[in-house]
Amino acid sequence: MSEATYDLPNHRIAAADQPAAPTPGYWKSVGQRLIRDPVTMFVTFVLLGILFITIGAPLVTNGDPFSGGILTRLKPIGTPGHWLGTDETGRDLWTRICYGGRMSLLAAIVPVSVALVIGGFLGVVAGFVGGKLGNLIMRVMDVFYAFPSILLAIAICGILGNGLRNAILALSIVFIPPLVRVSETVTAQARQLDFVEAARASGTTTMQIIRHHVLANVLGPILVYATSLISVSIIISAGLSFLGLGVTPPQPEWGLMLNSLRQAIYVQPYVAALPGLMIFLTSMCFNLMSDGFRSAMDVRLNK
């Protein structure tokens, strides 16, 4: 080892030149990476399209989702005036799909959002505080985890009675345990890292550490996981409606429509499959979108 000969660079460089431009935020760089990802962009546009035809249903169809007629029953795809055909009571399927998506998307997104807030909070607390409180939260969640999610949803719906509101409530309860578990794991991992210790060692308060060091690092994975749960939520909520526990007829809803068109599967197989196709498409898009988010948020994967 040689004597100390290392020259410190002149630290006036910093003062002499103009100060460097403000740092582009983390979320901004995530956005830039998302824009460069064609698959994620494509599925996002598909989802925006689905959102448009459901929320803006009166703009894309003149029909009434409730009016049908015995003469227009079970028309095939391409029938003039009913380009996607009609259902078993003669209602226009395109109109029913547009209006039905409202319920399906509501029943998919709201429970996940509710569970994200409650489950994320409980999970971060359990992961950061640990100890007895953390154990208590996690063991209670394990009790819920013991039931398969669809059975739990059916049981809760059965207790509360059917209807959209109860289905949403049931699904929220179903999604809290997995979100708590994921949040707890990532928080407990982040808490052990040296930068959290370093922040503590420089006198940062616990709330500041959670906000700047823990949440910043765990929010990404939690959000990605929640997005992937939306696709599960679509399927389970459609399943509840299919079983008659969610939305009640004659309200349009994709799961319910799939159930009622089931009897016509030999008469008009393509028409009968359409609500199922919408469920598949939407859930697939949410899945791919969450994949895209995950890679865009991982700073280590991308330059």
């Binding site: 080892m1 040689s2 930068f195 060692a201």
Partner: protein, 359 residues
């Protein structure tokens, strides 16, 4: 080889320096941490790991105290206890005359503003979501400095640790090499303008040439900012190079302490000698003749009674199992001078056995 960085005291008097140069920067007395081991049916405490047991030492202003010892001897726990990242079970810490966390003393946060730490793992000690400049500016901002000023300070510090702020300020930790990241960690530790820095294996993960650069940087920064270092390492060569005094730990206790020249040329504790015997040397004429240690250190969950080294010591006698040897002046040689050489060993013959003469 021995180039312990000696400094002329040039920096202007620090207004925070309250006790004057004679008062130790840090005085640690009987520091103890026993971690409970839980298990069994009801998660009861079934044992304790005696990670740090009655450790006392002092660090003088402007010096570098090196702490050496093998893995698991309590070096890092000691560092974390000093920063109060872990609460000690017993013992007192006095920072420049003020008891830390006690009545009439300074708070833990006051101490943390004056004492900072650099961690071993340069990657995990930086928040991957923050740029280098954000990480450095973070602590000053949390202490109330305006964002722009904190950012300016971060850029200045980057320059001072040898990284061009224009190139590096806006990079993320994964875009830097290990040596560059450790420089950022050093800059972050200096951001609060501490008087003392704990370097916990700060250069251990770096390759040799980068390690030398970072060591030289540490020496320069010490002179520039009038710092006091506590340098924790398992690398005996590095400790010899950077330290003024050395503290040797074994299984959570101090076994020997003294000026670096004295410890390295006349190690008195059998463990210290064995430790030096394990040190690789490049000079064939200086090969060690000391017997290497056999076996692993005993389990700290159930450490040996009396002297903890006795189970691996060739000289051990009955007294070693009965009494904990106090840290005292050696029975031969060095007197108690300005900077005493102290050893925790009962036996004169063990202290006298000089198997190896390290130059």
């Amino acid at each position: 080889m021995s180039a312990a960085i000696s400094l002329p005291v040039t920096a202007p008097a620090d207004p925070r320096d309250r006790g004057g140069p004679a008062q130790p920067m840090l005085l640690v007395e009987d520091l103890r941490k026993h971690f409970p081991v839980r298990g069994g049916l009801l998660n009861r405490q079934i044992a304790t790991v005696q990670a740090v047991d009655d450790v006392s030492f002092s660090v003088r202003k402007g010096e570098t105290l090196g702490i050496v010892g093998e893995s698991g001897c309590g070096k890092s726990t000691t560092a974390r206890l000093l920063m109060r990242l872990v609460e000690p079970d017993a013992g007192s810490i006095t920072f420049d005359g003020d008891a830390v966390g006690g009545p009439g003393g300074i708070t833990v946060n006051d101490m943390r503003r004056q004492m900072q730490m650099v961690f071993q793992d340069s990657y995990s000690s930086l928040n991957p979501r923050m740029t280098v400049a954000e990480s450095i500016a973070y602590a000053p901002r949390m202490h109330g400095l305006a964002a722009q000023q904190a950012y300016d300070r971060a850029e200045t510090l980057l320059g001072q640790v040898g990284l061009n702020p224009h190139t590096y300020a806006r990079r993320y930790p994964h875009e830097l090499s290990g040596g560059q990241r450790q420089r950022v960690n050093i800059a972050r530790a200096l951001a609060l303008e501490p008087r003392m820095v704990i370097l916990d294996e700060a250069v251990a993960a770096l390759d040799k040439s980068v390690e030398a650069q970072v060591l030289n940087l540490l020496g320069d920064l010490k002179a520039r900012f009038n710092l006091t270092y506590l340098f924790i390492s398992h690398d005996l060569n590095v400790v010899e190079y950077i330290s003024d005094r050395v503290l040797v730990m074994y299984l959570g206790r101090v076994v020997e302490t003294g000026p670096v020249e004295s410890i390295y040329s006349r190690p008195r504790h059998p463990y210290t000698r064995a430790l030096f015997a394990s040190k690789p040397t490049l000079d064939p004429d200086r090969r060690t003749t000391e017997m290497p240690l056999t076996g692993d250190p005993p389990n700290p969950i159930n450490p040996p009674s009396g002297c903890r080294f006795r189970t691996r010591c060739a000289f051990a006698k009955a007294i070693c199992a009965e009494k904990v040897p106090p840290l005292e002046a050696p029975l031969y040689g060095e007197g108690i001078g300005d900077s005493p050489h102290l050893v925790a060993c009962h036996l004169p013959e063990a202290q006298a056995a000089m198997g190896m003469h390290h130059a």
